[in-house]
C-alpha cells in the first residue's frame, strides 16, 4: 500500500497498467489476426471476433491512460470500464476453467444430503418470526433474533458441509495449481485493485468527478450483469441465427453460404390456372418442385396454388387458426369469469385459487393427463358425452347418435382438441389478470353510470370494457405470443408429432422437425425468422388497436 503515500504514484501505477494492458491486448489481437501461435487452431470467425473485441478493449485501455495522464475525468470512466470488463472476463473464464459452472451437476448430486439440515435453517427462520410477538420487549426480541440467526447459519453451514463444501473448496484450491486458472485469478486480483484505486473518493477528487459522472458509472454498473448476459445469450445467438439462416448447415458438417435460398424456398409459390376445377395438379405444376397447396375458383376461373414447401404453409395456417381460436376463447371466458369473481361473495377466493391451478402445472404433465381424457375409445370425455346423450335421449325421447369423436386421431378435431386444452390451461391466469384490472377501476365511475340510469350491461360496455383496455392489451398480447409458439402440447399429445395428416403441424413443430429431425438447421433458422416476423406483426397490430381504443376512452 505504498501507493497511497503519494497521489502521483498510484496514478502512475494505474497509467502504467493501462499502457501495459493495451500493449498486451494489441499484441494478442495481432497474433489472432495473423493466426500465429496457439490462435492457429481457432476458427476464422472466432479469431476475428476475439481480435476485434481485444482491439476495442486495448484502445479503451490506452485512451484511459491518456486521459488520466491529462487529469480528465473520462479517463476514470474508461479505466473503470475496461478494468470491470476485464475483471468479468477473467472471473467467468476462471469459473469456466475451474469447472464452477459444470459443478452445478455435482451440486445437484450432493444437495440431497444437505436438504434435511436446511430444514434446521427453516426452523431457525420460524423462531425468528416468533420474535415479532414480543413487540416492546426489546431485549427478549434481540435474544430471540440472535438465536434464530444462529440456528439458521448453523443449519445452512451443516447443510453445505453435508453437501460437500469441504471437498468442493479443496478441489477449487487444487484447481489453482493449473497455471491458466492461476493466471486468471491473478488477473482478477489486478483488475480488482485497479477498480478499487480508481473507484475511491480520492480518485474521483483527483479527476474532478461530478454528480452526473457518478450516476453514469453506477448506471452502467447496475445494468451490466443484465446487459452482458443479454449480449452473450440473446443478441449473440440472435445474430448467429440470422447468419445460420443464410447457410445450408446440417449440424454435422461445414456451413456453406447459400444466400437467401432458404427464404426463397419458404416463400416460393407457383400459381397456375386450371382448365377445370378437378384437373390433376401435375398437368399444370412442375410437381417435382411444387406441391399442391390449395385450389379455388374465382369468377369462374379455377386457380391452383403450388408451394415449394407445402408444409410450411400448412404450419403457418395451423398456427394462425390455433391463435385465432385459442386467444379469443381464452380471453372472453376469462373476462366473463373475472366479472363473476369480482364480488364480495364468500368463498370467492377459493374459486380464484382453483381457476389458477391449471396455469401452474407443467404443460408436459397436463398433456399426459389430457391424452387419456381424450382417448376416443376408453377416455372420459367421450364417455361423458355418451352419458349426456343417453340421458337426453331418455328424457326427450330423441335418438341422437353417439358422436364418438376421435379427438386426437382425426384431422378435423385434432387442432380443436389442442385448442380446448390450451384454453383450459390459460384461462385461469388471464382471469386473475383481468380481476386485477377490474379492482383498479374506481367505484365512482360505476356510481356515476348508475346515476345516469345505465343498466348492468351498459355499465359493462361503457365503463368496464374501456377501463380494462390496458389489461386487455396485456392479456391478449401475452396469450397471443404464447399461442403463436405452441409446441409442447402438440409434441406430447399427437403421434406422429404434428399429425394426424399435418393438422396440428405448427410453425414451431415444423421448426423442430427441420432442425432436429431432418437436421436442416439453416432452413430451421430461416423458419424461426419468419415466425418472428409473424409475432412482431401480430404484436404491432395489437399495439395499434390498443392505442386507438385508449384514445377512444379519452374521447368519452
Amino acid at each position: 500500500m505504498t501507493t497511497e503515500q503519494s497521489p502521483a504514484r498510484w496514478l502512475q501505477v494505474v497509467i502504467g497498467w493501462h499502457l501495459l494492458a493495451a500493449a498486451a491486448a494489441l499484441f494478442a489481437a495481432i497474433l489472432l489476426l495473423t493466426g500465429g501461435g496457439p490462435a492457429g487452431s481457432m476458427a476464422l470467425w472466432a479469431r476475428l471476433l476475439a481480435a476485434f473485441l481485444l482491439l476495442g478493449w486495448g484502445m479503451g485501455s490506452g485512451a484511459a491512460a491518456f486521459y488520466i495522464y491529462h487529469r480528465i475525468h473520462r479517463g476514470r470512466t474508461l479505466s473503470l470500464f475496461t478494468n470491470y470488463l476485464a475483471f468479468v472476463f477473467f472471473f467467468l473464464a476462471a469459473c469456466q476453467i475451474m469447472g464452477v459452472f459444470l459443478g452445478i451437476d455435482t451440486l445437484a448430486n450432493n444437495i440431497g444430503r444437505g436438504l434435511p439440515f436446511l430444514l434446521l435453517a427453516f426452523i431457525g427462520y420460524l423462531i425468528g418470526t416468533a420474535a415479532d410477538r414480543y413487540e416492546g420487549y426489546y431485549a427478549r426480541q434481540q435474544q430471540i433474533t440472535r438465536i434464530s440467526q444462529g440456528i439458521m447459519v448453523a443449519g445452512g453451514l451443516i447443510a453445505a458441509l453435508a453437501a460437500g463444501l469441504l471437498p468442493g473448496l479443496i478441489n477449487l484450491l487444487r484447481q489453482l495449481g493449473n497455471p491458466t486458472a492461476l493466471g486468471l485469478v491473478i488477473g482478477m486480483g489486478i483488475c480488482l485493485l485497479m477498480l478499487w484505486l480508481m473507484g475511491r473518493e480520492k480518485a474521483a477528487a483527483a479527476l474532478h468527478a461530478q454528480t452526473h459522472h457518478e450516476a453514469m458509472i453506477n448506471g452502467y454498473l447496475f445494468l451490466s450483469p443484465n446487459l452482458l448476459g443479454f449480449l452473450i445469450f440473446f443478441a449473440g445467438p440472435l445474430l448467429l441465427s440470422l447468419y445460420v439462416s443464410f447457410t445450408d448447415w446440417d449440424a454435422f458438417g461445414t456451413r456453406n453460404w447459400v444466400g437467401v435460398q432458404n427464404y426463397q424456398r419458404i416463400f416460393d409459390l407457383n400459381i397456375a390456372t386450371l382448365s377445370s376445377p378437378t384437373q390433376r395438379a401435375d398437368e399444370v405444376l412442375d410437381v417435382t418442385l411444387y406441391g399442391e397447396l390449395a385450389r379455388f375458383t374465382i369468377a369462374g376461373r379455377s386457380i391452383i396454388v403450388g408451394a415449394r414447401d407445402r408444409l410450411f404453409w400448412i404450419a403457418l395456417r395451423n398456427t394462425v387458426v390455433f391463435s385465432l381460436l385459442a386467444v379469443p376463447l381464452s380471453v372472453t371466458i376469462a373476462l366473463v369469469l373475472s366479472n363473476l369473481l369480482n364480488s364480495k361473495l364468500p368463498g370467492i377466493k377459493f374459486f380464484r385459487a382453483i381457476y389458477f391451478l391449471p396455469s401452474i402445472a407443467a404443460v408436459v404433465g397436463i398433456s399426459l393427463v389430457w391424452q387419456w381424457l381424450y382417448n376416443s375409445t376408453v377416455g372420459f370425455i367421450n364417455y361423458g358425452i355418451l352419458t349426456v346423450i343417453t340421458f337426453l335421449n331418455n328424457v326427450l325421447g330423441t335418438e341422437m347418435a353417439d358422436p364418438a369423436i376421435r379427438w386426437l386421431s382425426e384431422s378435423r378435431t385434432a387442432l380443436l382438441a389442442i385448442i380446448i386444452m390450451a384454453v383450459w390451461q390459460t384461462v385461469g391466469f388471464n382471469t386473475v389478470l383481468f380481476l386485477a384490472g377490474l379492482q383498479n377501476i374506481p367505484g365512482d365511475l360505476y356510481e356515476a353510470a348508475t346515476v345516469d340510469g345505465a343498466g348492468k350491461w351498459a355499465q359493462f360496455v361503457n365503463v368496464t370494457i374501456p377501463m380494462l383496455a390496458p389489461t386487455t392489451f396485456f392479456v391478449i398480447t401475452t396469450t397471443l405470443i404464447k399461442s403463436l409458439q405452441v409446441f409442447e402440447e402438440i409434441f406430447i399429445l399427437t403421434n406422429p408429432v404434428g399429425g394426424p395428416d399435418n393438422s396440428t403441424l405448427t410453425l414451431v413443430v415444423y421448426l423442430y422437425q427441420n432442425g432436429f429431425q431432418f437436421f436442416k438447421q439453416g432452413y430451421a433458422s430461416a423458419i424461426a425468422w419468419v415466425l418472428f416476423i409473424v409475432i412482431f406483426g401480430a404484436t404491432l397490430w395489437q399495439f395499434r388497436r390498443q392505442q386507438q381504443s385508449v384514445s377512444g376512452v379519452y374521447d368519452v
Binding site: 475451474m98 469447472g99 464452477v100 459444470l102 459443478g103 452445478i104 451437476d105 455435482t106 451440486l107 448430486n109 450432493n110 444437495i111 440431497g112 444430503r113 444437505g114 435453517a121 440467526q149 439458521m152 447459519v153 445452512g156 453445505a160 453437501a163 460437500g164 463444501l165 471437498p167 468442493g168 473448496l169 478441489n171 477449487l172 484447481q175 446440417d250 449440424a251 454435422f252 395438379a281 401435375d282 410437381v287 417435382t288 418442385l289 406441391g291 399442391e292 407445402r310 375409445t377 376408453v378 353417439d402 364418438a404 376421435r406 386426437l408 386421431s409 382425426e410 384431422s411 403421434n495 406422429p496 404434428g498 399429425g499 394426424p500 395428416d501 422437425q513 432436429f516 429431425q517 431432418f518
Partner: protein, 462 residues
C-alpha cells in the same frame, strides 16, 4: 429489517455456489450412466479413473419398458466381466415417443453420443451417409471366424450395402453393424370376443390354409356385430401396419431398386383400398390414429396387429388370448415385415477404441446374449439357427408362438433403409397421406394423384 435476512440468503447462495465448484472432475468424463446409483460416484470427488488398461465404452438401446432396460443392464454387467480390457456402461435411451434417433443424432453432432448404439433398420442409411457410424468391414475382415451368413440375410443385405458400389454382401466392403434381433407382426387375438361372436377360430383357419383377407373380414365383422364399441381389428398408425396390407397385395413403399416412391402403384393401392374399407366401409377397426392398445387391453378389440414386442404387456390382460399370423393377401402371402435393428459403432471412434467397440458389437449379438434378451418375450434372435427357434417356442404365453415363426418363413419384406434418399423425410409424408386416406379426409384417387409427388420431392430431392 430485510437486510439481515438478505445477507443470510446471500451467504447461503455463495456457499451453495462454492459447493458447486466441488468435484466437477468426476462427472466430466464419464456419465456413470446406469440411472440409479449416483451418490456413490460423486461422494468422493477425487475418485481415480478406471485402471488405465481398460477401454471404457458406453452403449445404448431403445428399451420399451423397464423390464427390457433391466435385461440389457444385466447383459452389460455380464459382458463387462467377459470382455478383457473393456469396461462397459449401459444407458437406456428414450423410447420412440421420446425421439430416440433425433436425440442420438444431436448427441453425435456435439460429441456426446455413446460408443455403440442400437438403431432401427430404417435409419441405417441416414446415419451411414452422414458419416455418423463406422464402416466395420475392415475390422470384420480381420476377425477370424466371423461370417455375415450367420444372421438373417434380409437385414444383412442392408447392413452390408455399399452406397458407392451399390453392392451388397460379405465382400461389398461395407458393414454398418450387426442385427440385434428380428421381429414380425402377428394378430393378437381376444379369444373370448371371437367365441362370443360365434366366429370361427382364426388359428384353425390358419392351420387349414383358409386364413385370407375374406376370412379375416368375416371374423372382424362378426365381432363388430356385438356392439358399436367392439372392434374386429386394431392397429397403430405407423408404416408397419399399413405396409403389410400393401405388401400382401404385391405392392410396397419403394420401387425395385429403392430409388423412388411406389405408393401409387396398382398393387400398393389395392392393399390400401382393402385397409381403407376396414376403416371406412365396414367400420370394423379401431379408428385410425387412435392407439389400439388401450381398447385391446380393455377387451374391446378382437384382433390387434402388433409385433413380438407387445407380448410382455399383453401377458397382463384378463381375457383369454393368443396370436395368429396375418391373413394371406391376393399376392399369396401375408405381406409381413421382417423388422430388425442393428448395433452400430459411433463414427468418431478410431484405433483400439474402434476395435473394442467391434468386439462389443459381436458380443452383443452372440447366441447366448440374444437368448437372454429373447427370453423376455419381446423379440426373436437374429441368428438363423434351429436351436434359437426351439428355444423361442418355449417362451409362452402366447401358446401359438409358431405364428411369429410362420411370419418369418412366409417371405416377409425386410424393413430397410433408404440409401438413395432420406427416410426420416419420406416417412412423415407417407404417414400423413395414409392417415388422410384411412380417416376419410381424402380418397384413393386423391392419394394416388399426390402421394408420390410429395414423397419424392421430400425425400429424393437432395
Amino acid at each position: 429489517m430485510i437486510s439481515p435476512k438478505l445477507r443470510l440468503l446471500t451467504l447461503l447462495i455463495l456457499v451453495l455456489l462454492l459447493v458447486a465448484c466441488g468435484g466437477n472432475n468426476t462427472s466430466s468424463t464419464n456419465n456413470t450412466g446406469a440411472a440409479t446409483n449416483d451418490n456413490a460416484a460423486a461422494a468422493n470427488p477425487t475418485t481415480p479413473p478406471q485402471p488405465a488398461a481398460d477401454i471404457a465404452l458406453r452403449w445404448r438401446t431403445r428399451p420399451d419398458n423397464q423390464e427390457e432396460a433391466n435385461v440389457y443392464a444385466t447383459v452389460s454387467a455380464t459382458l463387462d466381466q467377459q470382455l478383457e480390457g473393456i469396461s462397459l456402461t449401459y444407458e437406456p435411451g428414450g423410447s420412440e415417443t421420446a425421439s430416440y434417433q433425433d436425440v442420438l443424432k444431436t448427441e453425435i453432432a456435439n460429441g456426446t453420443a455413446p460408443d455403440v448404439f442400437w438403431i432401427p433398420g430404417t435409419d441405417v442409411a441416414d446415419f451411414a451417409t452422414r458419416g455418423l457410424i463406422l464402416n466395420l468391414a475392415s475390422l470384420a475382415g480381420a476377425t477370424s471366424g466371423f461370417s455375415v451368413d450367420a444372421f438373417y440375410p434380409g437385414p444383412m443385405f442392408h447392413l452390408t450395402y455399399n452406397p458407392d458400389s451399390m453392392a451388397s454382401g460379405g465382400a461389398s466392403g461395407a458393414l454398418w453393424g450387426l442385427p440385434r434381433d428380428v421381429s414380425t407382426f402377428a394378430l393378437y387375438l381376444n379369444l373370448d370376443l371371437i367365441a362370443e361372436a360365434g366366429a370361427p377360430d382364426p388359428r384353425e383357419l390358419a392351420a387349414n390354409g383358409q386364413w385370407d383377407w375374406q376370412a379375416f373380414l368375416e371374423v372382424a365383422q362378426a365381432v363388430h356385430a356385438l356392439g358399436p364399441d367392439i372392434y374386429g381389428y386394431g392397429a397403430n398408425a405407423w408404416w408397419g401396419p399399413y405396409g403389410t396390407w400393401m405388401n400382401a397385395a404385391g405392392g410396397g413403399f419403394f420401387n425395385e431398386d429403392r430409388t423412388a416412391c411406389n405408393l401409387d402403384s396398382a398393387e400398393s393401392l389395392a392393399g390400401l383400398a382393402f385397409e381403407q374399407a376396414l376403416y371406412q366401409e365396414y367400420n370394423v377397426a379401431v379408428p385410425y390414429g387412435e392407439d389400439s392398445e388401450p381398447p385391446f387391453r380393455a377387451g374391446k378389440v378382437a384382433m390387434f396387429q402388433n409385433g413380438r414386442w407387445a407380448t410382455p404387456g399383453t401377458r397382463t390382460v384378463t381375457f383369454d388370448w393368443d396370436v395368429v399370423e396375418l391373413p394371406k393377401g391376393p399376392a399369396g402371402n401375408a405381406g409381413n415385415w421382417l423388422f430388425w435393428g442393428a448395433y452400430v459403432v459411433n463414427g468418431s471412434l478410431t484405433g483400439e477404441r474402434a476395435e473394442a467397440a467391434w468386439k462389443l458389437v459381436q458380443a452383443l449379438t452372440t447366441a447366448e446374449t440374444q437368448a437372454t434378451v429373447a427370453a423376455l418375450g419381446a423379440n426373436i434372435p437374429s441368428r438363423v439357427s434351429q436351436e434359437a427357434f426351439d428355444a423361442f417356442l418355449t417362451y409362452t404365453p402366447p401358446a401359438n408362438n409358431q405364428a411369429f415363426l410362420n411370419g418369418l418363413a412366409d417371405s416377409p419384406a425386410t424393413e430397410g433403409p433408404l440409401w438413395a434418399g432420406s427416410w426420416p423425410e419420406y416417412a412423415p409424408v407417407m404417414d400423413a397421406a395414409v392417415q388422410a386416406l384411412m380417416t376419410g379426409s381424402s380418397t384413393l384417387e386423391q392419394f394416388a394423384a399426390t402421394v408420390c409427388n410429395d414423397a419424392n420431392r421430400a425425400a429424393f430431392s437432395r
